[in-house]
């Protein structure tokens, strides 16, 4: 009850949107389903990428390398799946690639005290370079990713079609959001993580090992960006192309900010982005606008959203600042 009271605006807005969506569904079920499916299709990598951001930045480490993490993971996932012929191996390798990139960010910035922005830029550049260099055209996956139907839930009109009849990575994203949210706000890990991202010296005097916790969080947090990469190359398209992330990592970063570093809001923000994108595609037939402007829309929206949101949301206070024991207490 108390939770409801505190989040009444969010919950209220959610309900309004839900009702609107079902009204839409009642008017034209086919168009509604395809639009919302398109929205979720677009939103999955954004949600996952932003979750990597949530875990890292809540711990006090800026991650602008999500784009690179995703790209390397997309590459690793696709080519390992193509080489072994196993989809599971592909997905796992993608996630591991995300974790490995996370470990790089963690070691350079938390241990090595490298500037976090620079480390993120390095990741992005290295990712583009490596994946372009080793890219070989002509490889294909042995099979398509399966479509899973969640029992019972997939029978719900609209929601079931959109969220509960999809590939494994999209489902992983769907499950990850509430899990990370709960972990962040209701568990010991979450309390400590938030404390090291807000005021590490307070955490330190309370006996928390700030350095170790940041290392672990930033590393493990890479799993989501890894999954996002695997989604792009395996689940969404079934192929790898140079630079295929196409700025989605940066969109995820925008969503992270728009969502106020809270997984549930991040989820809503990503859906909003996805929906605008789907809407634009729908409108293409109705009013004549060049295709280029349609693809431009998410990026334009990012600009607007960030300009509006930037002043209102508040980042974890210690984000971007290296922690050195004994300073500032």
């Amino acid at each position: 009850m108390e939770w409801l009271k505190r989040n009444q605006i969010t919950v209220g807005a959610g309900l309004v949107i839900l009702v609107a969506a079902y009204v839409f569904y009642a008017v034209n079920s086919n168009v509604a389903t395809s639009m919302f499916s398109g929205a979720w299709f677009f939103a999955v990598p954004l949600v996952l990428g932003a979750l990597t951001g949530v875990v890292g930045e809540r711990s006090g480490v800026v991650n602008i390398g999500i784009e690179g993490q995703m790209l390397v993971a997309a590459f690793a996932a696709f080519f390992s799946a193509a080489a072994t012929g196993s989809l599971i191996v592909g997905v796992l390798v993608g996630m591991l690639a995300g974790i490995a990139m996370g470990a790089f960010l963690a070691l350079t910035t938390v241990k090595g005290l490298m500037d976090q922005i620079i480390a993120g830029v390095v990741i992005n550049i290295v990712a583009t370079g490596l994946t372009s260099f080793f890219y070989r055209p002509g490889k294909v996956l042995s099979a398509n990713m399966p479509q899973w139907e969640v029992p019972l839930l997939s029978k719900i009109p609209l929601i079931g079609d959109v969220f509960f009849q999809s590939g494994p990575i999209a489902l992983f994203a769907l499950v990850s959001v509430p899990v990370v949210h709960f972990a962040l706000f209701r568990t010991r890990w979450g309390l400590r993580t938030r404390s090291i991202g807000e005021y590490p010296s307070a955490a330190d005097t309370a006996g928390i090992d700030v350095i170790r916790m940041r290392l672990v969080n930033v590393t493990i947090g890479g799993i989501f960006a890894g999954a996002a990469g695997a989604y792009l190359s395996m689940e969404a398209t079934g192929g790898f192309e140079r630079g295929m992330t196409a700025g989605r990592g940066f969109l995820a970063l925008a969503i992270l900010i728009f969502g106020g570093w809270r997984p549930l809001r991040v989820f809503a923000a990503a859906l909003f982005f996805g929906f605008t994108n789907a809407l634009a595609s729908q409108l293409q037939g109705v009013i004549s606008i060049p295709q280029q402007f349609i693809t431009l829309l998410p990026y334009l929206l990012t600009l607007i959203v960030l300009a509006v949101a930037a002043g209102r949301v508040r980042a974890p206070a210690a984000v971007g600042q290296p922690f050195v024991k004994g300073e500032g207490s």
Partner: protein, 525 residues
């Protein structure tokens, strides 16, 4: 290093042994021969101190006297060079704050160690959370806050985010946090520095109640009133050493003030009789607010003439900082007027005041005096980098900047690796000389020196004092603000005693009576 080690064994071991048998059982904390140096500065020297159960002990002294260094050693934040700290009969070294907490020491830092965006309950359990099946037991944390706050009479709402609380309540949370870990000895580092007078009174009441309940308290302050109000005993620190220990029942504000400023040999400064000229600085009815929006400077009036040194003496926290910042243009005054050579500089910014001829040696040289990551050469022209000869139009002239630095190095005896060395790499004394050199080298009309020798080694103190006198003799008006009464007495041609933000007395510096000034500083007038 080896010499230190031998000294350690020969001196401390026997003391520790005899002490253990001699110490009365109720002694909670016993410190013997504690010394700590940072580089060449001896922050603590041979300190002996003890605290009994349920006793409130005040550490009194000016900033830089070594109070914070002392308590940080008790809490395990820094390690002593020599000496022992015995807690409840256990003299083993305190490894870190965790170890200190385990042994019953709690500390409320001057900067609160609370996460602002978390609730009181969350802050309370951070670091030793209880969970049930992985879920944080927030209800238990709330309960804990309520219990503790009932038990100690400290009202706090467990569900409010810390940042929404007034500073005084945040401090309560800190105290409760310490109490939740079963402390025997609570250390409060300048607990009243951030509080309003009302909050201060509340805190003092709380301290008394805690002590009555058996908790010992060590608290740092430089405010005499607080010491007399709550402490059982007081240790007065000066220049790293204990210069006096007295039961508060046996002393008064005057006695403490005298102890604080000391009876040490006055640092001799040879100077001629002043030959004052016309008014350079003229302050009328100045009112300046501090960071808490209280009237720190409250109707201050003073004139400083060319060729004289006017010393502002007073216990710290009586508006000196705000006064200096207002004159320098760093803090806009609420009302009143500041004139420099007949020109109104009340609303001037720091650059304007510099142009008008004010040289400012700031109290906090690390924050306001230097840019640590710039070279010394650049630091020496910080206020003039865009003026001739250091720049031609938009282009800086690095040759001139370097020549200027080299000349000032010689003139002011600055010891550094070179003019391109980073300012942050210097010792305190040399940093201060850089600031002094910069502010004096442009021949200011008014030289304003705030705590010019704080945290500076003795050699540099003498040097800086001589330079200040030289500036006077060259015709500058000098406003010296210092918490060291000795410094004011040895330098000033005229002394203005500040208390409660206004001048309570003015007198010639020659033959000024130390006891009289001490009495005035304590607010007895």
């Amino acid at each position: 290093m080896s010499q230190e080690a031998t000294q350690d064994t020969t001196r401390d071991r026997p003391v520790e042994a005899t002490d253990r048998s001699a110490a009365p059982a109720e002694r909670l904390l016993d410190i013997e021969g504690l010394s700590k140096s940072f580089g060449t500065v001896r922050a603590n020297r041979d300190i002996n101190l003890h605290v009994g159960r349920g006793e409130i002990v005040a550490l009194l002294g000016e900033n830089g006297a070594g109070k914070s260094t002392l308590v940080k050693q008790i809490f395990g934040l820094i390690k002593p060079d020599h000496g022992t700290i015995t807690i409840k009969g256990d003299a083993s070294p305190i490894k870190d704050p965790k170890d200190a907490i385990r042994r019953g020491i709690g500390m409320v830092h001057q900067h609160f160690q609370l996460v602002p965006v978390m609730t009181v309950a969350e802050n309370m359990i951070l670091g030793h959370e209880t969970t049930s099946r992985g879920v944080l037991d927030i209800e238990g944390a709330r309960q804990l806050v309520r219990e503790l706050s009932d038990k100690h009479g400290l009202k706090v709402d467990p569900d409010v985010e810390v940042e929404d609380l007034p500073v005084g309540t945040q401090q309560r949370v800190e105290i409760l946090k310490a109490l939740s870990r079963r402390v025997d000895l609570l250390i409060l580092d300048e607990p009243t520095a951030v509080l309003t007078p009302q909050e201060t009174d509340e805190l003092l009441t709380v301290m008394k109640e805690l002590a009555a309940g058996g908790t010992s308290i060590v608290f740092i302050t430089h405010k005499l009133r607080e010491v007399l109000a709550v402490a059982d005993r007081v240790y007065v620190l000066r220049q790293g050493g204990v210069v006096g220990e007295v039961a508060t029942a046996d002393t008064d504000a005057r006695g403490l003030a005298t102890m604080m400023v000391g009876r040490d040999v006055v640092l001799r400064v040879d100077k001629e009789e002043a030959t004052p000229g016309d008014d350079v600085l003229s302050i009328r009815d100045l009112v300046v607010l501090d960071d808490r929006q209280l009237r720190a400077v409250d109707g201050f009036s003073l004139d400083v003439r060319a060729g004289e040194i006017v010393g502002v003496a007073g216990v710290e926290g009586n508006g000196q900082r705000e006064l200096v910042e207002a004159i320098a243009g760093m803090r806009p005054p609420q009302s009143g007027r500041i004139d420099l050579l007949g020109k109104d500089i009340t609303k001037a910014n720091p650059h304007d005041t510099h142009v008008a001829g004010v040289g400012h040696i700031p109290e906090d040289r690390e924050r306001h005096g230097l840019v640590a990551s710039y070279s010394l050469a650049d630091n020496l022209v910080l206020n003039r980098f865009s003026e001739k000869p250091f720049a031609n139009g938009f282009v800086r002239d690095f040759d001139e900047v370097r020549k200027n630095a080299e000349a000032l190095f010689t003139e002011f005896d600055i010891r550094a690796a070179g003019v391109q060395a980073m300012a942050g790499s210097l010792s305190g004394g040399n940093k201060q000389k850089v600031v002094v050199a910069r502010e004096m080298s442009f021949r200011p009309k008014l030289l304003m020196a705030a705590q010019p020798t704080r945290g500076v080694d003795v050699g540099s103190i003498e040097f800086i004092h001589r330079r200040i006198v030289a500036a006077r003799d060259a015709g500058a008006a000098v406003l010296l603000v210092s918490a060291e009464l000795d410094e004011v007495l040895s330098l000033a041609d005229r002394i203005a005693v500040i208390h409660g933000g206004k001048v309570v007395a003015e007198m010639p510096g020659k033959d000024a009576d130390r006891t009289e000034i001490g009495r005035l500083m304590a607010g007895d007038h």
